[in-house]
Amino acid sequence: MAVAALRRLALRGPVPVHAAIGTDALAAVDDLSLDPRISVQQSPRHAAILLVAGPLRDEDRSDLCRLHDQLPHPRATVFWRTDPAIQIADPPVVSVEDDAAATIASVYRSLIEEGRPSEPDLQPDTPPNPWRGKGDHGQGGEGMMGGTPYGRPMAMTGDDLRDGLQLDPYTAEFGPFLPVFPPGLKLRITLQGDVIQFAKVLRPPLPQEEQSGPSAALRRIARQLRLLGLTGQAARALRLASVGDGKAAGVRRLRRLVKWSGSGQAIPPGLGRVGGADVRDRLAAWWEVASGETAEARAPDRTLVDLLPGLEWSEAMLVLNSFDIATLTGMCPIEKREDKAHSEEEKDAPEPHDHDGHQDQMRGAA
């Protein structure tokens, strides 16, 4: 009785969806997020439906499996604009023309009403590394620090870039489905606190359609606004992007609203300077394009891995999302070796860290 009432109530709210975005699907997912039947969640832990939108690379599949297993039960996967990329019994596949929100809503309904079983884990629920410890506490290192107990590297102190203090560096892989990254981008990042010490491109972003014009500019603006905590304004920008013409007045109003938010001052001046333009300049240029004017494009003269070290996480995300995807891809040269041999990737990290371990819980999401 109580359970039935709970289900009825749950079904009256929007469906919590986490999107794993592949090729040419970013704009489509942005439009879908405006549907009142859907609520797109940043974390897979907050979602019931995993939406796989657009084709993925082969090497992204194991990340997708890990992401899938992070959704709480009951859960289901919907494939949109792509064939099923991972092994799931009876996966709903939605083509480009179909109403994705309706499919998602009906899958959610049958999931909650237990007509559809929750999907089991795709990967074994076992520790990712065997016991490799040495020493009194199994820590494998000297004294109480260092080593790789249970195959998990313990942080050793290293120099902080900013103030010369000795703090613990921490290395992990982020991407390719991290919502704050451009889709497909996978980085290995060494952090001290929230400051990036070292970054390496493992996989470049996936190509996305619609790279110019007012709508594309508004979508990029929306990503920046979300990073600044302006989710309502971001939704308004996406709605403007999804309509065809006659949005000049709407853009003007939105721009005023964003100006009042103090976002101009919130972004540090000189952040992510590339080709003479910083994040503020690039954002201003997008506003010009969104208003129907033209802005000159500047060729990047730095690579992404040069730009990120020394930035805090949130600054780095502002920088990362201040480029269109084609430009960013040009800034992400990767060495061939890394695509093939994952086990060899760790060699040139500044610390001897092999992070296939427990801190990678979020890596699928990440």
């Binding site: 749950a10 709210g13 709480p72 905590g229 308004r236 103090g262 919130a266 540090p268 801190q359 819980q361």
Partner: protein
């Protein structure tokens, strides 16, 4: 009378959180240029959806602290609210140093939010926890100066005395810098908008990134309850609390708290968030000196006209 007050505190938290959830949704829809579809039962839909999902766990979390953090957060909201007089003579915990207890709740909120991020044993929650401590410390300092300034005219640390000291003139008029600074503290205590350094979207939800199901629901409820608690405290300390003509005192307190709640939610939706290091500079070089100035001005005013 005390039993009534304790019951009222719990009801205030419950309905305050409910109102906050409704206003929050309406505010977001307004800013988004969306149709405001919100309904009074809408928070129940979200709660039911959370409760119908599994509470997941991570590999080797600090389980005790992870499960306790939302409970402790809620407890701090209730404890802080308990020192506020809801009507003349009606207060759940009537003791002389009420404002100090509130200050302790603020400081412990930093600890609880950090524990929530730390105990999940995952990178984004941990970064959220770090960032919150870095920002939380100077914000608490601001709040201490502002609250001491509010206590000066009352010559007492009791919240009841502070309310009574505003019979002639509200503190918001006597010390106009105090209320905005206290509202910034409110945004920080409730992880909201420009001060949301713990649970923000750039960290995929930060300290709650790994929380799901009932645990996530508890954390979200605790955040909203703390918002209600801060609103009531702000209206007691700066807007004269239950003081007001015609209507009964408790109603005045609720009305004023509702206005503060709406202002906090609007600020959360309308103001942009700076990266943490920029905010840190802003707090230490602008906001903290402002809070000193507030204290000095109140002191001088009391010396001259007191």
């Amino acid at each position: 009378m005390q039993a009534v007050a304790i019951l009222s505190v719990l009801l205030l938290l419950l309905f305050g959180a409910w109102l906050a959830a409704i206003l929050d949704r309406a505010g977001n829809a307004l800013v988004a240029g969306d149709r405001v579809r919100t309904a009074a039962v809408r928070p129940l839909h979200d709660l039911a959806a959370h409760l119908s999902r599994q509470t997941t766990t991570t590999e080797a979390p600090d389980r005790l602290n992870w499960r306790l953090a939302p409970v402790a957060y809620l407890a701090l909201a209730a404890l802080g609210l308990s020192v506020v007089p809801l009507a003349p003579g009606v207060v759940a915990a009537d003791f002389d140093a009420g404002i100090v207890l509130w200050g302790a709740c603020e400081a412990l909120t930093v600890v609880v939010v950090f524990l929530h991020g730390w105990s999940a044993n995952s990178e984004f929650p941990l970064i959220g926890g770090y960032r919150y401590v870095a920002i939380g410390l100077p914000v608490m300092l601001i709040s201490m100066f502002v609250l001491i300034a509010a206590a000066l005219p009352a010559e007492s640390l009791s919240v009841a005395a502070i309310v009574e000291s505003q019979r002639e003139i509200w503190n918001v008029v006597r010390q106009p810098i105090g209320l905005p600074l206290f509202l910034l503290l409110g945004l920080s205590l409730t992880l909201r908008g420009p001060f949301d350094y713990a649970d923000s979207d750039d960290l995929i939800g930060g300290t709650r990134a790994e929380a799901s199901g009932a645990q996530l629901a508890a954390w979200q409820f605790a955040r909203l309850a703390m918002l209600a608690s801060v609103s009531v405290m702000a209206s007691a300390v700066f807007l004269g609390g239950y003081l007001g003509p015609v209507l009964p005192g408790a109603l005045w307190l609720i009305l004023k708290s509702g206005v503060v709640l709406a202002v906090l939610i609007a600020a959360g939706h309308l103001l942009a968030r700076m990266p943490p290091s920029r905010m840190m500079t802003f707090i230490w070089t602008v906001l903290l000196p402002l809070s000193f100035l507030d204290l000095v001005l109140v002191g001088a005013e009391l010396l001259i006209w007191g």
